[in-house]
């Protein structure tokens, strides 16, 4: 066991810290979950890519720098500490990217990964349907083979940034007679396909960040099938594992938020020395939990680098980070008291209302990527070994 970072890791961390502080935009952009902000954030993807900092953990040939998992975790820590803009292509880079590495053909990897890395093609996830949420395998959107194409009919929903995304990765039923997990396929669909209609839906925070997507005889070339026809569920599970484990939500995000929470407390106690001590306890708990997530991930990263694999325990991670995100933001809001409800634009809003917008965002955490109730079932059945029936 050696928990110090070695000279290479430290140099790597210093390099990204220096670069990002020199290059992060100074302007405050519109939220990336608006059409304007979406395009502003796309330019940042390009800037990152050109400096080799978009996907540092990917192979060089796809625009990365082949960094190790530990270095990538340090990159994430520095990224979030810097306060740089969010990554508008997270669904591509963190979810579809790893899935392509596992399941894509060489042609598909060459075709999709570089444009994903440079922000030319921003991705959305098209999985949930109006009648298929937690029970994803009940999905009904069909894609019927017609020559070199699939013809898609059906509806997807809750597609984050799906109204403007360049591409959508979907799970569809390619065998209309099939049921449940069989007969599903993983299909990459261009956002501008004829027969694809998108309608933005305003989220809890007011941003039109969700999209409903309607497929009306939408034709997609068979070269966009990821994995074999009928193997969609297995491919989807690779994505889900990224979604729950450390790809989507590395500790850096929460460490930075916990540090900001500590700073906020110091400011608050200076203004009001009579702040209830329970608030300090919450700050302590949130800080400690962010640290716990960090060390859990370093331990898992070591295990992966030593050749291990992360299975159903990824669900522990998803439970933990989603609850941690709420805990951090809820603590800040309680500390701010009536000021906490102020949003961007209110003259007295603390930090431009970011604590409230962060809180609203965090509220989605226990729902997306498989609800936390489903995660608890997965942990109980597949990690602890309790009976399904």
């Amino acid at each position: 066991m050696d928990l110090f970072f070695d000279a290479n890791q430290t140099a790597f961390r210093d390099e990204i810290r220096h670069w990002i502080n020199e290059n992060k935009p100074n302007d405050r952009w519109a939220p990336m979950d608006t059409q304007l902000g979406f395009e502003q954030h796309r330019t940042w993807e390009r800037t990152l890519f050109e400096a080799g900092w978009s996907v540092p953990n990917w192979p060089k040939k796809y625009g990365g720098r082949d960094c190790s998992l530990i270095e990538w975790l340090l990159y994430e820590e520095e990224y979030y500490l810097s306060g740089a803009p969010g990554r508008v292509n997270t669904n591509g880079i963190s979810l579809l990217g790893p899935t392509l590495f596992s399941w894509g053909t060489e042609e598909q990897k060459d075709r999709f990964l570089p444009k994903m890395a440079n922000g030319d093609e921003i991705w959305a996830q098209g999985w949930s349907e109006p009648d298929s949420g937690s029970d994803l395998a009940s999905l009904k959107t069909v894609a019927v083979r017609d020559g070199d194409h699939y013809v898609i009919n059906g509806q997807k929903t809750w597609c984050s940034r799906g109204a403007w995304a360049d591409w959508i990765f979907c799970i569809v039923r390619t065998d209309p007679t099939s049921e449940r997990h069989a007969g599903l396929s993983y299909l990459l669909v261009p956002g501008n396909s004829p027969g694809l209609i998108r309608r933005p839906v305003s989220r809890l925070d007011g941003e039109p960040a969700f999209a409903e997507i309607f497929f009306d005889d939408c034709r997609v070339h068979v070269e966009n099938l990821l994995g074999d026809e009928g193997a969609g569920w297995s491919v989807a599970m690779a994505t889900a594992s990224s979604e729950r484990g450390l790809n989507l939500r590395a500790p850096g995000r929460f460490l930075a938020a916990a540090n900001r929470l500590v700073q906020l407390y110091m400011k608050a106690i200076e203004r009001n020395p009579l702040l209830p001590s329970a608030i300090r306890d919450q700050v302590v708990d949130a800080y400690v939990n962010a640290q716990a997530y960090r060390y859990q991930v370093f331990q898992k990263a070591t295990m992966l680098m030593e050749g291990g694999t992360l299975g159903a325990e990824a669900s522990y991670m998803k439970l933990f980070w989603s609850e941690l995100d709420i805990e951090i933001h809820a603590s800040a809001l309680r500390m701010l008291s009536e000021q906490g409800e102020l949003v961007e634009g209110a003259p007295d809003a603390e930090d431009s209302g970011n604590w409230m917008s962060g809180y609203l965002f965090a509220l989605a955490g226990p729902i997306y990527a498989g609800t936390n109730e489903i995660q608890r079932n997965i942990v109980a059945e597949r990690v602890l070994g309790l009976p399904r029936k």
Binding site: V284, Y295, A301, Y316, G385
Partner: protein
């Protein structure tokens, strides 16, 4: 950054687990409690012959000279077995205190006999009850900024019955003149006490993790066997979610305990904070494990006839020992400057 144990660290823990399974079974613990004896000599001898009693001691004295990261897994095993013998007090707290004091050359023979198990040591810092004082030959006691070594003949013990009757607690009365000052430099004493408290927090945290894991494992087993409404109670989501939450608390406390153990010997500037955080999370994990394991078992676990009670009570006592969650939060807040 490499966050994994070496094979020899894992093997030593596994050997300890095997030994405890044999010599520290629930039957043996129950027998020990019923007999009201001061010690479990057979178990103690097994610890001695494995070298566990000398884990921290210098090799020149016959010890294993291990770092906290080397024996943190052994502490976890002590919790998993609900070991009644005060191994931490003896091997992790007392021996290093005696070895690190200025007059240590005078105590070579006591140290050697402590390492081979002939003599037993225990310790009290500030105003604690002393665990296993009635089996100890010597106690290390702190008074007026000085550290004393006091032989059992010079101490008046008063039993303080614990809810966990396999934990033998005592208050001690002693005359300052009856002890030997082993460390007279009050600054040195202060720093020795500080580091000893941190080690105690980390080793107790590791024991909490072991207790919590055992409670969870027993409950996972039970809810598969226990049937109601014609099916195992473990098929119900209410049960599954209690146990998933318990597993999560353990899963996220454990690396913090290992990290804290590593930090103690590595000049990590955050060693103190790490120890406090480890004990906070381990206490929380074991509190939750106690609550959910009792609830998921139902009435059977609310009896002395069923062995879960051994770990429930150990969890209850270790959760508060060397810093309950409220005191840990205070310490952490101090470290963070809050």
């Amino acid at each position: 950054m490499k966050f994994s144990f070496k094979d020899e660290q894992l093997l030593f823990a596994e050997a300890t687990r095997e030994m405890l399974r044999k010599d520290c079974s629930p039957e043996a613990i129950n027998e020990f409690v019923e007999s009201d004896s001061a010690a479990m000599p057979e178990l103690w001898n097994s610890f001695a012959s494995m070298g566990v009693l000398g884990i921290t001691a210098s090799e020149t004295l016959g010890g294993l000279e291990m770092l906290d990261q080397d024996f943190v897994l052994i502490m976890e095993e002590l919790g998993r077995a609900a070991c009644p013998e005060p191994v931490m007090e003896h091997a992790v707290l007392s021996i290093p205190l005696l070895e690190e004091c200025n007059n240590k050359s005078k105590y070579t023979s006591i140290l050697k006999s402590a390492i081979n198990g002939e003599h037993r040591l225990s310790v009290a810092l500030e105003s604690q009850y002393v665990v296993g004082a009635d089996s100890a030959d010597y106690l290390l006691l702190f008074r007026d900024s000085l550290l004393h070594l006091v032989a059992k003949e010079s101490i008046v013990l008063q039993r303080q019955a614990s809810v966990d009757s396999s934990r033998r607690l005592f208050s001690v009365k002693w005359d300052t003149n009856s002890g030997t000052v082993i460390e007279g430099d009050s600054d040195k004493v202060r720093s020795l006490i500080e580091i000893t408290k941190l080690r105690a927090e980390v080793s107790t945290a590791a024991q909490c993790i072991g207790v919590a894991q055992q409670l969870l494992d027993m409950t996972v087993q039970y809810v598969q066997e226990r049937k109601q409404f014609g099916k195992p109670v473990g098929v119900n989501q209410a049960i599954k979610h209690h146990l998933a939450d318990t597993g999560k608390a353990i899963e996220f406390a454990r690396p913090m305990v290992y990290r804290a153990a590593w930090s103690l010997n590595k000049g990590d500037t955050e060693a103190e904070l790490a120890a406090h955080m480890a004990k906070l999370l381990a206490s929380k994990a074991v509190d939750l494990a106690c609550k959910t394991s009792l609830q998921c078992h139902g009435a059977i676990a609310y009896t002395l006839e069923y062995d879960l009670q051994i770990w429930l009570k150990r969890g209850l006592t270790l959760s508060s020992s060397w810093g309950d969650i409220y005191r840990q939060r205070e310490k952490i807040a101090d470290c963070l400057g809050l």
